[in-house]
């Protein structure tokens, strides 16, 4: 049975679809396909919520285990990503509730100085750290994973109004933190300075 897929031959979507189908048949190799396809984005999303690489990896690994457990409830006709990131984001939020983190994003804040984008990362880390886990979740969903507000509400299982106000509050706090005088890092970074 040929289930391990050749990425050079097929698009990611086809691989994803075949990975899901394999997993639904009970073939665990389908999981490996899904992990390879989605782990990096999931790790970055989870890091955006948890602020810690180790915890993000743990949350993402847990998320893939939940994918195995819930794959029978997934309908192939629907897009996989919203279903998957619902698991990832909610798992990360749960991990955040359970863990008493000392300093979220500490590893960014204590990273080596002197790199071109260090100031950028420092500023964003400080700004994101000031948000609650739930606010970080909406920021990650909106600005990193590119979901609209209605989808975010479904993913987080919160009313649309709550989602909108949470996103508005998070956005305003980020803007305020990042728009302090002499912090034109975003423009500088975007220009490669």
């Amino acid at each position: 049975m040929q289930l391990l897929l050749d990425p050079a031959r097929k698009s990611n979507v086809e691989d994803e679809s075949e990975g899901v189908a394999a997993l639904q048949r009970g073939d665990i190799r389908g999981l490996a396909v899904l992990v390879r396809l989605h782990q990096l984005k999931a790790l970055r999303a989870a890091f955006g919520i948890l602020g810690n690489r180790f915890e993000a990896e743990d949350a993402v690994a847990d998320s893939f285990i939940k994918v195995v457990e819930k794959i029978g409830t997934y309908e192939q006709a629907r897009p996989f990503e919203p279903w998957f990131y619902r698991i990832v984001v909610n798992t990360a939020i749960d991990h955040g509730r359970m863990a008493r983190r000392e300093t979220p994003f500490a590893e960014v804040l204590t990273d080596e100085t002197g790199t071109a984008d260090f100031d950028v990362r420092l500023q964003v880390a400080a700004a994101v750290r000031a948000l609650s886990d739930e606010e970080r979740a909406v920021v990650v969903l909106r600005y990193y994973l590119d979901f609209d507000e209605r989808s975010i509400a479904k993913i987080l299982q919160t009313p649309l109004g709550t989602t909108k106000s949470r996103l508005h509050r998070a956005r305003e706090r980020l803007r305020r933190e990042l728009s302090e005088p002499n912090q034109c890092w975003a423009l500088s970074a975007a220009e490669g300075v």
Binding site: R25, G26, D27, I28, L31, A32, V35, R36, Q39, L40, L43, R44, A45, F47, G48, R53, A56, E57, V60, A61, F64, I65, V68, E69, K70, G72, T73, V108, D117, V120, R121, V124, A125, V128, V139, V140, Y143, Y144, D146, R171, L174, R175, L178, S179, W185, A186, L187, A189, A190
Partner: protein, 257 residues
Amino acid sequence: MDESTLRTSVTMFLDSAVPPDADVLESVMSRVPSRRPQRGFPRGAVLVAAVAAAILATLGTVFAAGGNFPIHLNLVPFAHQEGSARSKKPPDAASSIPVVKTPSVPTTLAAAEASFGHHVLTPSSSTGAELQAVYFQAAQPVPAGSKPGQTPTPATVTIQYSYAGSGLTMWEMYDPSSAPLTVDAINEGGAKSKTSSGLGPVDIETVRGSDYALVRTVAGGPVEEMMWKTAGGIVVTVQFDSPLSTSLAFAFATALN
């Protein structure tokens, strides 16, 4: 700062925070086989002990006349220890449980049945139960140096279903003996077994002439676990993720064929 700049900033930040070579594949794959079958095993194991007991038992030949095999409750003394009921362990007599220690292999129903060598019981569609996962565990010999009385672990098919708004795990093993099913229970003011909330009463109930052992959370309360031995020698243990009413529990158990 406009939306586009905010998006760029967040994306740049997260992309740089986790390097492209980050990899959780090994971590994920190592968790898959070890986590799934463990669900509920500590409690289920008390009942599953009966499989070994039944296989070893030489209590005489009992034929299941069309229905399930009869069930005997084997009351084991309760070793009094301090602490909550959950922390108390049954005595050594119950520790010869054939707990599946090595990971089961995720598989399909057809493959599990082929490996098992016997018909795997599945619920009729009328129950609304939906298959979630299937695992097969080959028979395990008694490890060298085991305590006397330790029994081999029979081949086991583990199936998970969603059912009645929750989930359940079902273990199927084959007992070739013609002995009745012996269920070990803790003797603590009656037959008891460990449940998610402490010790729960174990009853034997007969439905349509067939015996079923039931573990309830409280006397007369919802059912957390069921066990029986079919006329074909399949020992079935069903553990409900959330305790169910007696009628729902039997609706599932009696719809297996």
